[in-house]
Each structure stands twice: as structure tokens, then as C-alpha cells.
Symmetry: C2
Subunit: 466 residues, 2 copies
């Protein structure tokens, strides 16, 4: 099997057809790999910035509201840190807790411009720094803009290439467009608009931007902290290949199972004043849980060269430890299936979304008594490295999260692993996940990163190349 | 064209195929029309009940919570009447208001058992009284149960046929299953689970239940207040016919347009104490808006024979006037299209849902200055009766609403009506709406009633029969 063949012209952009991911071009006629490497190293060198942790009182434009203790911006825009009361009950489990949560009702745009050069599909990627990033600069989508960004509330520079995404879009054609959720444990019902558009004419160049093939991006996804979260979620929208073989369950059956899970779970989310959240303590520079687990809300001062505004302060959410997100992958009838877990996270919009088989902060999870530990966690932690199709640390959005690294794992399990699984787990194929991604709130963001990672694993060739 | 032909055996229940609605059986070998009429008249005669308006202080088990003024049940279950603050902004419009709203986080089941007799598909319908109904008894789905109902919190009788819908479902096969929204102006993010299941074996009879063909039900839908709201929404899930011709817009385009609308609209919903809602006044027997418009929250005492518990009191929401819900229907390229309006109602879960072209309380709407009146309202109010494919008053759910009648209209417009419409309107075919109904929160409940009504109009034959 060769993996150097080009994506056939027009296969992505012709409606109703899917391109074959095995046919990924691992190099680009527009941006050969060495050229990219040099450009990217230069971007990381020149886009230096300084992020300093500061006490909350040194935040400019941010304050704790008198009546609620919520951390808010003076403009009433951007986002706020509030309290959330959660009551969850299903299958004999009942839990009730309160926690800080980020409320950002605005829907931003995460969008990639694609275009064929010499018959090969390319994505226009941006080198972008974000204050909380692991590794300064990462590759982001062409456009990564909050509503405040692109409508000018931010008072910063205009957003490059926004005209390819905002109406009337005379220079582009929309290929994929849906609202997708972000971290349900940290955000209250947050979604961003994920878009892929095809440029219809010549696209002006810009020094912070580069054209890469899907194959190149998938190779980079095998490295840590190069392709940022926003790029990964947009990439996950691009369907993989046409003929993966028959899935274990029909789509109607999957929808039935998901509906059943949502109907049986009771999840009541009630906003509350941040000051009233129990077991969390606010000091002069942190809001932290008494146990030291979960996350901390901190404040940071940022100074950078090429961001919309060059100097600012903002709150950030810092996870207490590196997370773990892992899909078990098993061939069923010869067809690779992922074991998805229906997760009801605190801030979820629609009761439950499909997440990875295991998703947790393992340090905390291992302090739990065995029956309350995430199912299959031990299996993943004790995995033979030879079964790991993908095992890479990636960071979550650096605009909101401080050094939020997650270990992303795809672990192959064999025929000895049972096809019969507990009721909140579902075997799904990559193609079925792609179909669900035409709609909102079916897959959580960790699952979407792993869907992109699966394509990266396939692009590498080997056992799972097709 | 004949419309007396049977639905061909297995066409609904065979995966991936749709039955042809023109092939509706307008009579039933199991329940001939005269037999149904007699049975239904008898049901309405014997299932008498008395609904009396009472002061709030006479509610049993219900009270206004001290701290919030919310109207709550002592068990913490069922539903509550709370306050909601809404801030909406788009396309230059900005609005902000607060209002009472019903919060019912539990997801109930609305489900119809179907089965073929003599090769003809039948639905098992129930004669059910609800306290707020226009006309005492209406036809409801086989099962119409809140979570409290079927898990026994209600302390009433067990729910008939619930075993066809609740796992392990050994006697049935799920055909359609999705969460669908209810009135967004009156409910906070309310959904019920809408199901259609096929019975696999003999189904025991019960005196309150009757087998009717789809054709019979569609004929009954042309009468007022016979087929209840819950039956209408479940029926709307059953797709219509296979070959309606090419739609004006592809599904990808529709999803793109809807995503764009959701991303551009800002809708911030904040729960608040009912006591703090502005411009609403609570007296001893009503919570009403100062203008007299919108709706009133009242209390009622109900005594009935065959409901789960035979005597109870409860709050009801009474609309201030009869509503109007109308779709404009136009052939485009020979294919009938409905003009859907993306509506952001106060309690909507996901920013906007597709609703009818016009949906309002016309009495109030006509008091508004012209630029703020619902678009196309005048067109519908001044319609030539000959253009009305459907024009029937139906009532909304009698378990929550008191005498909530809506005039449902399908109005045919000709080639002089422009295909170019404002950005928050979308031309869609019935088939496209069916595809969207596999998922949640695309169509509001008024649009779903009208989708069922469209099939009733088609069943009648005439210009829109196929």
C-alpha cells in the first residue's frame, strides 16, 4: 500500500463523496516539509511572549461582581467564571455538586480554508500563540475568532481571512459547518462554529499562514503540541474514507441508544453565584478545590507581539494534572470500531455526548474506590505499548486553559475483548462519527481530537492503514 | 389517483424505505370508521371530569417557595413555574424581557405502537382526558407518560403498554426515537422522547385503546381537537413519501444556514426567581402580564375517572388568546416546499428551531407597530379560503395548558410569491423535515403539528395529493 498518492482532485469538494484517507499526500508541492519546518521554527522563535501569573486584583478590566462573586469582564462580554450546581442521577447513581464554570455564551468561528494546488487538497493553517499553550506557538485553523474578536469588541486588529467565513462569502463555498461543543467539565454549554470552506479563487498570502496537505497535518498530529485544539476539532469534521465495511450497529440503533441514555439520565444544571460554590476556596491569586484536585482558576498577565491586542490580563483555568483520553479500538467483523462512552459532563448542553472510552484525570481517578473508577482505566494504564496506535500529549485551548495537557491514546484490543459492553458504551465506526458530526452535540471535543488522531494513525500506514 | 390502497406490507418497518402517503387506507379492517365513531363518542361520554379554577392557596402539594416565589411541588418533582430573564440580539434587533416559564427537566415518553393487520399498518391510539383540553377526551399516543408517571412517583396506576417502550422491549422493535422540543415560549428547554415502535407479537387489547390506520388518523386530523398534541408530534416522525422531487436547497446548505443563524443570534437565558419577574403580577388566583397579553398561570382542581390518580390539583398555563401557526406552501420546480422560519423562543434549547412561516398570538401581534409585526401575518389573515390546504383549530397539551387552542393553517402561494426570502426564512420540503426529525431540536412543535397536517391534506387528495 502506498500512502504518497494525492487526494484525487475534487473528491472532498464534490458533494456526496468522501476522499480516501489512505491517499494522503505526506508532502506538499506548495510547502515542502523542510520549508514548513524552517517557517514553523521561525514562528516559534519570533513570536515570543511572556505569561506571568498575577493576583486577581491586578486583572485589568476584570472584577469579582459584588452580588455574586462571579469573575466578570467590565464590558459584560468575553466570558465569566460563575458557579454551577449539578444534580445527576441515573442507573442507581446519584451525585450532586457545585463547581466554578466558564460561561461564554458567544459562539465564535473556528474555520479552515481549503484549496487544491496541483490537484492536492491543502489547508491554510495559522501559526498562533495563545497564553496558556504548552509550547508557545501552535498551528491553528485559518480563523480562530470569538464573536468579540471578529465584530471588533476586542478593539484589536481585524481577523485575517474572516471574509471566507462571514457572509456574503463571495470567495468561498461552505463544505462543513456545524456548532460543536467544548470541554463540558469546564464550560457551561459552550460551542463554537466549526467550518471548512473551499476558496474559489486565489488566496492572498500572509506571513503567519501556511498551506499544508491533510497528510502533513496528520503527521504533525503525531507530535505533541503542534496542532492546536481548535485545528483538531475542525479537522475532525472532514470525513474519512468511503468504504469502511458494515458497522456493528445501524445509525437508527445508535440514535435510539443515545436517545434512551438521554431520556433516562436526569441532569439538572442550575447557575449559582461563584461565591456560593461549596468546597472551593478563593485566595488572592487562585480559586481552588479543597482537595487540590480538578482545576484552579488563576489570573495571568500576557505580553505578545502578533496577537490582536499586544498586552492584556485575563483569567485562565489551570487543570490540576494532565488528563487522559483514550479510545479502545477493536475490529468487529474486520471493521475497526471505537468504543464510545456516553458522558454527562457538568456543562453539557444536551444531557450526554459521546466521548472517548476513558476520559479522566488519572491521578484523581486512582484515589477513588474501585467501583467508582472510570471503567477500562486500568486497562489503558497497563497497556502493552505495542497496542497503542496513538499515544501523544496534546494541549487544550490556550486562550482559556493554562497548560492543559491531555494524553490522547488509541489502544487496539483484540478478539478477546467482549463486543457486549455496558449500556453507556457504544461501538461506533469512524464513518458513523463523521455522519454524526454534521450535527451538533453528538461528540465531545476529546472524542473529536481522537477522531483526528485516528486519521493520523491511518496516515502512518501499518496495521490500521487501509 | 386512488387513496384507498393499503400501505404495502413492511414498507414502513423495512429499514431504509419509506411508505407512500398517498397510499393511505382511509378505513380499517380492525376498527371500521363507524365502530371508531361509536367507541370515541362513548369514551367522551363516560370519561367525564370536572375542572374548576381555584385560588393558589387551595392547591394541594403545591406552594410558592419562600425564597424565590417559584411555584413548586412539595416532592421537588413534576414541574415548577419559575422566572426567566431573556436577552436576545440579532440583525440590529435587541430585546430583553423576563417572564414566567415552566421548568420540567424530566424527559417523558410519547410513544405509538404500530402493527400491521391484513397488511395494513395500524397505530394503537388511546382515548385520554387531560384537564386543560378543548373537548374533554382526545386521541393520544399509546403511551403518554412523564418520567414521574412511569417510574411511579405519581403513585398512580401503572402505565399501559409501557413495556413496548422501556427496555428490554422484548415485544417490540424501535422504528423512530428522538427527543423533541415542546412550546419554547412556555417551557424552559423542555423535550419529550418521541417513539414509534413496532409490536412483534399479539398486542393485548384495552378498552381505552383503539387501532387506527394512518389514513384514519389523518382524516381525524382535519377535525378540531380530536388528535392531541402528543399524538401529532409522534406522527410527525413517520416520514412521508420517497420521491418528492429535487429540493431547492441541499441538506448541507440547510445545515449551513441554520448554523449561521444560531451563531449570529445571541440568546442569553438566565433563570431568576418568579417573584422578581417584571411586569407580571400575582393575585390570589392568577399570575398575569400587566398588558393582559401572553398567558396567565392559574390553578385548577380536577376530578376524573380513568386517569392515573382520580383527583388532584395543579397549576395550568392559560394562553390569553387563540394562537396562529401557518406554513406558506409553494411549488418550486414542481416540488412542494414549506417556508420555515428560524425562531428563537424564550426557552429554546439550541438558540433557534425551525417553526412555521407565521407563529404568533394574532390579537397581540396586531397591536404592534407594522415593522415589528410577524412577517407574512397579514398575508395569512387575508388569505382567500380557496388557498387554504388546511385550516383547523387544534389544542396544545392539556396536562399543562388550559384551553390552548391554535389555528393551524397551510396556505398555498403561487408563482408570484418570491423564492428569495429574508435570511431567517428557509424553503424546505417535507422530506427534508423528516430527515431533520431523526435528530433533536430542529423543528419546533408547531411545525411538527403542521407537518402532520400536511399529510392529512395529502391524504384528502386534491391538488396536493400525489
Amino acid at each position: 500500500m502506498t500512502i504518497t498518492q494525492a487526494v484525487p482532485p475534487g473528491t472532498l469538494t464534490r458533494p456526496g463523496r468522501r476522499f480516501t484517507l489512505s491517499a494522503q499526500t505526506l508532502d506538499s508541492p506548495v510547502t515542502p516539509n523542510p520549508v514548513f519546518r524552517e517557517w514553523f521554527a521561525e514562528q516559534r522563535r519570533t513570536n515570543r511572549y511572556e505569561v506571568r501569573r498575577i493576583p486577581f486584583r491586578d486583572l485589568v478590566g476584570w472584577r469579582f461582581a459584588d452580588s455574586t462573586g462571579n469573575l466578570v469582564h467590565d464590558s459584560g462580554r468575553f466570558f465569566s467564571v460563575e458557579g454551577l450546581q449539578v444534580r445527576a442521577e441515573w442507573e442507581g447513581h446519584a451525585a450532586s455538586w457545585s463547581q466554578p464554570i466558564i460561561n461564554q455564551p458567544e459562539i465564535g468561528i473556528l474555520g479552515i480554508v481549503v484549496k487544491e494546488f496541483d490537484g492536492v487538497l491543502h489547508c491554510l493553517m495559522q501559526a498562533k500563540m495563545e497564553p496558556g499553550n504548552l509550547e508557545t506557538v501552535q498551528l491553528s485553523p485559518t480563523v480562530q475568532a470569538t464573536r468579540s474578536n471578529y465584530t471588533g469588541v476586542h478593539k484589536g486588529a481585524r481577523v485575517n481571512y474572516i471574509e471566507y467565513f462571514a457572509p456574503p462569502r463571495t470567495g468561498s463555498r461552505v463544505l462543513f459547518d456545524s456548532l460543536q461543543s467544548e470541554q463540558g467539565s469546564w464550560f457551561l454549554r459552550k460551542r463554537n462554529r466549526n467550518m471548512v470552506v473551499e476558496a474559489l479563487g486565489p488566496v492572498p498570502a500572509h506571513e503567519d499562514f501556511v498551506w499544508l496537505t491533510l497528510g502533513q497535518i496528520h503527521q504533525l498530529l503525531r507530535e505533541s503540541n503542534v496542532v492546536n485544539m481548535d485545528a483538531r476539532t475542525v479537522l475532525s469534521l472532514i470525513p474519512s474514507y468511503a468504504d469502511e465495511g458494515p458497522p456493528l450497529h445501524s445509525m437508527e440503533h445508535l440514535l435510539n441508544r443515545l436517545t434512551e441514555i438521554k431520556a433516562h439520565r436526569e441532569l439538572v444544571q442550575t447557575s449559582m453565584p461563584l461565591a456560593a460554590v461549596r468546597n472551593w476556596r478563593r485566595t488572592e491569586d487562585a480559586i481552588a478545590h479543597d482537595s487540590g484536585h480538578h482545576f484552579t482558576v488563576i489570573a495571568a498577565s500576557v505580553a505578545a507581539a502578533n496577537r490582536e491586542v499586544t498586552r492584556w490580563t485575563q483569567p485562565l483555568l489551570a487543570p490540576a494534572e494532565q488528563g487522559l483520553s483514550a479510545f479502545l479500538v477493536r475490529r468487529i467483523g474486520g471493521v475497526p470500531h471505537l468504543l464510545a462512552h456516553a458522558r454527562s459532563e457538568a456543562g453539557v448542553l444536551d444531557v450526554a455526548e459521546l466521548g472517548p472510552t476513558v476520559q479522566c484525570q488519572p491521578g484523581r481517578a486512582l484515589t477513588l474506590p474501585l467501583p467508582r473508577r472510570p471503567r477500562y482505566l486500568d486497562l489503558v494504564l497497563r497497556a502493552d505499548p505495542g497496542t497503542l496506535l496513538y499515544d501523544t500529549v496534546q494541549s487544550e485551548e490556550g486562550g482559556r486553559f493554562h497548560h492543559a495537557g491531555n494524553r490522547y491514546v488509541l489502544m487496539e484490543v483484540g478478539g478477546e475483548f467482549p463486543v457486549d459492553v455496558p449500556g453507556d458504551f457504544l461501538w461506533v465506526t469512524a464513518g458513523q462519527l463523521s455522519d454524526l458530526l454534521r450535527h451538533s452535540n453528538y461528540l465531545n471535543i476529546e472524542a473529536r481530537t481522537l477522531l483526528s488522531a485516528l486519521r493520523a494513525a491511518w496516515a502512518r500506514g501499518g496495521a490500521y492503514a487501509r
